[in-house]
Subunit: 203 residues, 2 copies
Protein backbone atom coordinates (compact mmCIF):
# COMPACT_ATOMS: atom_id res chain seq x y z
CA UNK A 1 0.00 0.00 0.00
CA UNK A 2 1.42 3.39 -1.00
CA UNK A 3 1.69 5.90 1.83
CA UNK A 4 0.44 9.49 1.67
CA UNK A 5 2.60 12.07 3.47
CA UNK A 6 1.41 15.64 4.07
CA UNK A 7 4.39 17.99 4.23
CA UNK A 8 3.88 21.55 5.46
CA UNK A 9 5.62 24.61 6.73
CA UNK A 10 3.59 25.99 9.64
CA UNK A 11 4.05 28.98 11.89
CA UNK A 12 4.42 28.60 15.66
CA UNK A 13 0.86 29.93 15.98
CA UNK A 14 -0.52 27.22 13.74
CA UNK A 15 -0.95 28.74 10.29
CA UNK A 16 0.30 27.12 7.07
CA UNK A 17 -0.27 30.21 4.96
CA UNK A 18 -0.54 33.92 5.61
CA UNK A 19 -3.93 35.50 4.96
CA UNK A 20 -2.81 36.32 1.38
CA UNK A 21 -1.65 32.72 0.85
CA UNK A 22 1.99 33.76 0.74
CA UNK A 23 4.97 31.87 2.13
CA UNK A 24 7.32 34.84 2.56
CA UNK A 25 7.43 34.16 6.29
CA UNK A 26 9.24 30.82 5.96
CA UNK A 27 12.53 30.83 7.88
CA UNK A 28 15.18 29.42 5.50
CA UNK A 29 17.24 26.48 6.70
CA UNK A 30 19.89 24.85 4.50
CA UNK A 31 20.07 21.74 6.64
CA UNK A 32 16.33 21.17 6.21
CA UNK A 33 16.54 21.67 2.44
CA UNK A 34 19.30 19.07 2.25
CA UNK A 35 17.28 16.57 4.27
CA UNK A 36 14.19 17.20 2.12
CA UNK A 37 16.14 16.82 -1.13
CA UNK A 38 17.48 13.46 0.01
CA UNK A 39 14.00 12.14 0.70
CA UNK A 40 12.43 13.07 -2.62
CA UNK A 41 13.41 9.92 -4.46
CA UNK A 42 10.97 7.91 -2.35
CA UNK A 43 7.96 9.71 -3.82
CA UNK A 44 6.53 9.70 -7.31
CA UNK A 45 3.11 11.35 -7.05
CA UNK A 46 1.97 14.70 -5.66
CA UNK A 47 -1.61 15.69 -4.83
CA UNK A 48 -2.56 19.34 -5.19
CA UNK A 49 -5.41 21.62 -4.31
CA UNK A 50 -5.97 24.30 -6.91
CA UNK A 51 -4.40 27.19 -5.02
CA UNK A 52 -1.20 25.34 -4.17
CA UNK A 53 -0.97 24.05 -7.74
CA UNK A 54 -1.30 27.62 -9.09
CA UNK A 55 1.50 28.77 -6.79
CA UNK A 56 3.83 25.86 -7.55
CA UNK A 57 3.11 26.07 -11.28
CA UNK A 58 4.12 29.73 -11.33
CA UNK A 59 7.56 28.84 -9.96
CA UNK A 60 8.87 25.33 -10.49
CA UNK A 61 8.54 24.83 -14.29
CA UNK A 62 10.88 27.80 -14.77
CA UNK A 63 12.95 27.49 -11.60
CA UNK A 64 16.04 26.28 -13.46
CA UNK A 65 15.81 28.63 -16.45
CA UNK A 66 19.00 30.57 -17.02
CA UNK A 67 18.91 33.91 -15.24
CA UNK A 68 21.40 36.34 -16.79
CA UNK A 69 21.26 38.49 -13.68
CA UNK A 70 22.16 35.72 -11.28
CA UNK A 71 24.04 32.91 -13.01
CA UNK A 72 24.64 29.83 -10.91
CA UNK A 73 22.20 31.01 -8.27
CA UNK A 74 20.54 27.67 -7.59
CA UNK A 75 21.68 25.46 -4.75
CA UNK A 76 21.98 21.73 -5.45
CA UNK A 77 18.94 21.24 -3.22
CA UNK A 78 16.75 23.57 -5.27
CA UNK A 79 17.95 21.90 -8.48
CA UNK A 80 17.09 18.45 -7.11
CA UNK A 81 13.67 19.66 -5.96
CA UNK A 82 12.93 21.26 -9.34
CA UNK A 83 13.93 18.15 -11.24
CA UNK A 84 11.87 15.91 -9.02
CA UNK A 85 8.74 18.05 -8.91
CA UNK A 86 8.69 18.68 -12.66
CA UNK A 87 9.04 14.93 -13.33
CA UNK A 88 6.58 13.71 -10.67
CA UNK A 89 3.01 12.69 -11.45
CA UNK A 90 0.79 15.60 -10.35
CA UNK A 91 -2.89 15.15 -9.54
CA UNK A 92 -4.80 18.43 -9.29
CA UNK A 93 -8.22 18.77 -7.67
CA UNK A 94 -10.07 21.73 -9.16
CA UNK A 95 -13.57 22.54 -10.26
CA UNK A 96 -12.51 25.79 -11.94
CA UNK A 97 -9.45 24.92 -14.00
CA UNK A 98 -9.99 23.23 -17.34
CA UNK A 99 -6.34 22.59 -18.21
CA UNK A 100 -3.22 21.68 -16.27
CA UNK A 101 -0.39 22.17 -18.74
CA UNK A 102 2.50 21.66 -16.28
CA UNK A 103 4.21 18.41 -17.27
CA UNK A 104 2.74 15.12 -15.96
CA UNK A 105 -0.32 16.83 -14.47
CA UNK A 106 -3.78 15.32 -14.38
CA UNK A 107 -6.99 17.14 -13.47
CA UNK A 108 -9.68 15.68 -11.20
CA UNK A 109 -12.81 17.85 -10.93
CA UNK A 110 -14.10 16.11 -7.79
CA UNK A 111 -12.51 14.76 -4.63
CA UNK A 112 -13.56 11.12 -4.32
CA UNK A 113 -11.97 9.15 -1.47
CA UNK A 114 -12.44 5.88 -3.40
CA UNK A 115 -10.21 7.18 -6.14
CA UNK A 116 -7.52 7.95 -3.57
CA UNK A 117 -7.88 4.49 -2.07
CA UNK A 118 -7.43 3.01 -5.53
CA UNK A 119 -4.37 5.20 -6.11
CA UNK A 120 -2.85 4.01 -2.84
CA UNK A 121 -3.40 0.35 -3.66
CA UNK A 122 -1.71 0.55 -7.07
CA UNK A 123 2.04 -0.18 -7.16
CA UNK A 124 4.28 2.86 -6.93
CA UNK A 125 6.33 5.08 -4.72
CA UNK A 126 5.11 7.37 -1.97
CA UNK A 127 2.51 10.09 -2.48
CA UNK A 128 3.06 13.61 -1.15
CA UNK A 129 0.82 16.59 -0.60
CA UNK A 130 2.06 20.11 0.10
CA UNK A 131 -0.22 22.85 1.42
CA UNK A 132 -3.61 22.22 -0.22
CA UNK A 133 -5.59 22.69 2.97
CA UNK A 134 -9.00 21.71 1.64
CA UNK A 135 -7.67 18.47 0.15
CA UNK A 136 -5.65 17.67 3.29
CA UNK A 137 -8.82 18.19 5.34
CA UNK A 138 -10.82 15.82 3.16
CA UNK A 139 -8.05 13.21 3.12
CA UNK A 140 -7.78 13.51 6.91
CA UNK A 141 -11.51 13.06 7.35
CA UNK A 142 -11.33 9.80 5.40
CA UNK A 143 -8.24 8.52 7.23
CA UNK A 144 -6.17 8.53 4.04
CA UNK A 145 -3.06 10.41 5.20
CA UNK A 146 -0.44 8.14 6.77
CA UNK A 147 2.09 10.72 7.97
CA UNK A 148 2.09 14.44 8.67
CA UNK A 149 5.44 16.25 8.53
CA UNK A 150 5.31 19.76 9.91
CA UNK A 151 8.21 22.20 9.80
CA UNK A 152 7.31 24.64 12.58
CA UNK A 153 8.91 28.03 11.89
CA UNK A 154 10.01 30.26 14.79
CA UNK A 155 7.51 32.97 13.95
CA UNK A 156 4.03 34.09 14.93
CA UNK A 157 2.09 35.04 11.81
CA UNK A 158 -0.71 36.62 13.81
CA UNK A 159 -3.34 35.32 11.41
CA UNK A 160 -3.75 33.26 8.27
CA UNK A 161 -5.09 29.91 7.15
CA UNK A 162 -5.07 26.70 9.13
CA UNK A 163 -4.18 23.47 7.33
CA UNK A 164 -6.99 21.26 8.60
CA UNK A 165 -10.53 22.52 9.06
CA UNK A 166 -14.07 21.24 8.87
CA UNK A 167 -13.05 17.72 9.93
CA UNK A 168 -15.84 16.45 12.19
CA UNK A 169 -13.78 14.15 14.45
CA UNK A 170 -10.32 14.52 15.92
CA UNK A 171 -7.54 12.19 14.76
CA UNK A 172 -5.04 10.75 17.22
CA UNK A 173 -1.44 10.70 16.03
CA UNK A 174 1.78 9.05 17.16
CA UNK A 175 4.80 11.33 17.42
CA UNK A 176 7.61 9.89 15.31
CA UNK A 177 10.18 12.66 15.56
CA UNK A 178 10.72 16.14 17.06
CA UNK A 179 13.93 17.64 15.73
CA UNK A 180 15.11 21.22 16.22
CA UNK A 181 17.26 22.83 13.51
CA UNK A 182 19.86 25.59 13.89
CA UNK A 183 17.65 28.42 12.61
CA UNK A 184 14.91 27.56 15.09
CA UNK A 185 12.71 25.49 12.81
CA UNK A 186 11.42 22.26 14.38
CA UNK A 187 10.49 19.22 12.35
CA UNK A 188 7.55 17.32 13.87
CA UNK A 189 6.71 14.01 12.23
CA UNK A 190 3.50 12.20 13.12
CA UNK A 191 1.94 8.94 11.97
CA UNK A 192 -1.81 8.40 12.03
CA UNK A 193 -2.47 6.06 14.93
CA UNK A 194 -3.37 2.72 13.38
CA UNK A 195 -5.75 1.85 16.20
CA UNK A 196 -8.08 4.63 15.02
CA UNK A 197 -9.33 3.24 11.70
CA UNK A 198 -10.85 5.48 9.07
CA UNK A 199 -14.61 5.91 9.32
CA UNK A 200 -16.54 3.20 7.47
CA UNK A 201 -17.98 3.94 4.07
CA UNK A 202 -16.67 7.26 2.90
CA UNK A 203 -17.65 9.08 -0.21
Amino acid sequence: MRQIVAFDRVSADGYFAAADGGLGWVVPEEELDRAAAQNLSGSGTILFGRRTYDMFESFWPHALDANPHAPGQHSPEIRAMAQWINDAEKIVFSRTRTEVPWRNSRLLPEFDPREIEALKSRPGNGIMIFGSGSIVSQLTEHGLIDEYHFIVAPILLGGGRTLVSGVPASVRLDLVEATPFPSGNVRLRYARRSSSPPPPGGG
Copy 2:
Protein backbone atom coordinates in the same frame (compact mmCIF):
# COMPACT_ATOMS: atom_id res chain seq x y z
CA MET B 1 11.25 43.84 34.53
CA ARG B 2 8.69 41.10 35.09
CA GLN B 3 8.34 38.63 32.23
CA ILE B 4 5.04 37.55 30.69
CA VAL B 5 4.84 33.90 29.64
CA ALA B 6 1.99 32.57 27.51
CA PHE B 7 1.42 28.88 28.25
CA ASP B 8 -0.85 26.85 25.99
CA ARG B 9 -1.86 23.39 25.00
CA VAL B 10 -2.19 23.32 21.22
CA SER B 11 -3.13 20.59 18.78
CA ALA B 12 -0.75 19.44 16.04
CA ASP B 13 -2.96 21.30 13.55
CA GLY B 14 -2.59 24.57 15.41
CA TYR B 15 -5.71 25.00 17.55
CA PHE B 16 -5.67 25.90 21.24
CA ALA B 17 -9.33 25.14 21.78
CA ALA B 18 -11.92 23.01 20.05
CA ALA B 19 -14.77 24.88 18.37
CA ASP B 20 -16.82 24.55 21.59
CA GLY B 21 -13.89 25.90 23.65
CA GLY B 22 -13.34 22.57 25.33
CA LEU B 23 -10.03 20.98 26.28
CA GLY B 24 -11.16 17.36 26.32
CA TRP B 25 -8.67 16.59 23.56
CA VAL B 26 -5.59 17.24 25.72
CA VAL B 27 -3.33 14.18 25.88
CA PRO B 28 -2.46 13.66 29.57
CA GLU B 29 1.20 13.43 30.52
CA GLU B 30 2.33 12.98 34.11
CA GLU B 31 5.89 14.05 33.36
CA LEU B 32 4.64 17.36 31.93
CA ASP B 33 2.40 17.99 34.94
CA ARG B 34 5.34 17.43 37.26
CA ALA B 35 7.53 19.86 35.30
CA ALA B 36 4.73 22.45 35.25
CA ALA B 37 4.10 22.12 39.00
CA GLN B 38 7.78 22.71 39.72
CA ASN B 39 7.78 25.95 37.74
CA LEU B 40 4.73 27.55 39.33
CA SER B 41 6.56 29.14 42.23
CA GLY B 42 8.25 31.58 39.83
CA SER B 43 4.95 33.24 38.94
CA GLY B 44 2.57 35.33 41.01
CA THR B 45 0.14 36.93 38.58
CA ILE B 46 -2.14 35.45 35.93
CA LEU B 47 -3.83 37.37 33.12
CA PHE B 48 -7.18 36.10 31.87
CA GLY B 49 -9.57 36.71 29.04
CA ARG B 50 -13.17 36.31 30.09
CA ARG B 51 -13.81 32.91 28.54
CA THR B 52 -10.72 31.29 30.04
CA TYR B 53 -11.49 32.86 33.42
CA ASP B 54 -15.03 31.43 33.30
CA MET B 55 -13.65 27.98 32.56
CA PHE B 56 -10.92 28.09 35.22
CA GLU B 57 -13.29 29.58 37.79
CA SER B 58 -15.71 26.71 37.31
CA PHE B 59 -13.01 24.20 38.22
CA TRP B 60 -10.11 25.39 40.35
CA PRO B 61 -11.80 27.00 43.38
CA HIS B 62 -13.42 23.63 44.13
CA ALA B 63 -10.74 21.33 42.74
CA LEU B 64 -9.59 20.18 46.17
CA ASP B 65 -13.01 19.87 47.79
CA ALA B 66 -13.55 16.48 49.38
CA ASN B 67 -15.20 14.09 46.95
CA PRO B 68 -16.88 11.24 48.85
CA HIS B 69 -16.97 9.17 45.65
CA ALA B 70 -13.25 9.42 44.97
CA PRO B 71 -11.28 10.16 48.11
CA GLY B 72 -7.62 10.90 47.56
CA GLN B 73 -8.14 11.30 43.84
CA HIS B 74 -5.87 14.30 43.37
CA SER B 75 -2.27 13.90 42.29
CA PRO B 76 0.35 16.01 44.08
CA GLU B 77 0.70 18.01 40.85
CA ILE B 78 -3.00 18.91 40.70
CA ARG B 79 -2.92 19.85 44.39
CA ALA B 80 0.09 22.12 43.84
CA MET B 81 -1.54 23.71 40.79
CA ALA B 82 -4.81 24.33 42.69
CA GLN B 83 -3.01 25.89 45.65
CA TRP B 84 -0.96 28.13 43.39
CA ILE B 85 -3.76 29.26 41.08
CA ASN B 86 -6.19 29.99 43.90
CA ASP B 87 -3.55 32.09 45.70
CA ALA B 88 -2.20 33.94 42.64
CA GLU B 89 -3.20 37.47 41.69
CA LYS B 90 -5.70 37.14 38.83
CA ILE B 91 -6.36 40.00 36.41
CA VAL B 92 -9.47 39.48 34.27
CA PHE B 93 -10.22 41.45 31.11
CA SER B 94 -13.96 41.58 30.51
CA ARG B 95 -16.53 44.08 29.37
CA THR B 96 -19.44 41.85 30.33
CA ARG B 97 -18.65 40.60 33.83
CA THR B 98 -19.31 42.95 36.72
CA GLU B 99 -17.88 40.78 39.51
CA VAL B 100 -14.97 38.38 39.79
CA PRO B 101 -15.53 36.64 43.12
CA TRP B 102 -12.76 34.03 42.78
CA ARG B 103 -10.12 34.88 45.39
CA ASN B 104 -7.49 37.54 44.51
CA SER B 105 -9.22 38.46 41.24
CA ARG B 106 -9.35 41.96 39.80
CA LEU B 107 -11.52 43.10 36.89
CA LEU B 108 -10.26 45.35 34.08
CA PRO B 109 -12.98 46.42 31.64
CA GLU B 110 -10.52 47.53 28.92
CA PHE B 111 -7.24 46.20 27.58
CA ASP B 112 -4.71 49.02 27.82
CA PRO B 113 -1.11 48.14 26.92
CA ARG B 114 0.20 50.93 29.16
CA GLU B 115 -1.36 49.24 32.16
CA ILE B 116 0.42 46.01 31.25
CA GLU B 117 3.71 47.86 30.83
CA ALA B 118 3.23 49.36 34.29
CA LEU B 119 2.43 45.93 35.72
CA LYS B 120 5.62 44.51 34.20
CA SER B 121 7.78 47.28 35.62
CA ARG B 122 6.53 46.86 39.20
CA PRO B 123 8.50 44.45 41.40
CA GLY B 124 7.16 40.92 41.52
CA ASN B 125 7.38 37.42 40.15
CA GLY B 126 6.59 36.25 36.65
CA ILE B 127 3.24 36.81 34.95
CA MET B 128 1.45 33.99 33.15
CA ILE B 129 -1.39 33.81 30.71
CA PHE B 130 -3.23 30.61 29.78
CA GLY B 131 -5.52 30.39 26.76
CA SER B 132 -7.22 33.81 26.51
CA GLY B 133 -6.68 34.12 22.77
CA SER B 134 -7.95 37.69 22.35
CA ILE B 135 -5.73 38.98 25.16
CA VAL B 136 -2.72 37.00 23.91
CA SER B 137 -3.28 38.53 20.47
CA GLN B 138 -3.36 42.07 21.86
CA LEU B 139 -0.31 41.47 24.07
CA THR B 140 1.51 40.01 21.06
CA GLU B 141 0.64 42.99 18.91
CA HIS B 142 2.19 45.30 21.50
CA GLY B 143 5.31 43.16 21.99
CA LEU B 144 4.45 42.48 25.63
CA ILE B 145 4.82 38.69 25.77
CA ASP B 146 8.37 37.56 26.49
CA GLU B 147 8.01 33.79 26.11
CA TYR B 148 5.54 31.44 24.49
CA HIS B 149 5.38 27.87 25.82
CA PHE B 150 3.37 25.54 23.65
CA ILE B 151 2.58 21.94 24.53
CA VAL B 152 1.80 20.42 21.14
CA ALA B 153 -0.52 17.43 21.55
CA PRO B 154 -0.30 14.47 19.15
CA ILE B 155 -3.76 15.04 17.77
CA LEU B 156 -5.47 16.76 14.86
CA LEU B 157 -8.55 18.58 16.10
CA GLY B 158 -9.79 19.24 12.58
CA GLY B 159 -11.06 22.69 13.53
CA GLY B 160 -11.28 25.09 16.43
CA ARG B 161 -9.85 28.38 17.59
CA THR B 162 -6.34 29.66 16.93
CA LEU B 163 -4.47 31.36 19.75
CA VAL B 164 -3.23 34.43 17.90
CA SER B 165 -5.32 36.28 15.34
CA GLY B 166 -5.81 39.77 14.03
CA VAL B 167 -2.18 40.74 14.70
CA PRO B 168 -1.12 42.96 11.79
CA ALA B 169 2.61 42.08 11.69
CA SER B 170 4.42 38.81 12.19
CA VAL B 171 6.67 38.35 15.23
CA ARG B 172 10.01 36.57 14.94
CA LEU B 173 10.83 34.20 17.79
CA ASP B 174 13.92 32.38 19.00
CA LEU B 175 13.49 28.68 19.70
CA VAL B 176 14.58 27.97 23.29
CA GLU B 177 13.59 24.33 23.62
CA ALA B 178 11.93 21.48 21.70
CA THR B 179 11.34 18.54 24.02
CA PRO B 180 9.33 15.42 23.22
CA PHE B 181 7.53 13.61 26.06
CA PRO B 182 6.64 9.91 26.31
CA SER B 183 2.95 10.32 25.39
CA GLY B 184 3.82 12.20 22.20
CA ASN B 185 3.37 15.74 23.51
CA VAL B 186 6.15 18.15 22.49
CA ARG B 187 7.05 21.20 24.51
CA LEU B 188 8.14 24.11 22.30
CA ARG B 189 9.49 27.15 24.12
CA TYR B 190 10.09 30.39 22.27
CA ALA B 191 11.39 33.81 23.31
CA ARG B 192 10.39 36.96 21.47
CA ARG B 193 13.43 38.00 19.48
CA SER B 194 14.79 41.07 21.19
CA SER B 195 15.97 42.60 17.92
CA SER B 196 12.34 43.09 16.89
CA PRO B 197 11.17 45.79 19.28
CA PRO B 198 7.51 46.40 19.97
CA PRO B 199 5.86 49.00 17.77
CA PRO B 200 6.17 52.55 19.12
CA GLY B 201 3.29 54.16 20.93
CA GLY B 202 0.58 51.60 21.46
CA GLY B 203 -2.74 52.13 23.07
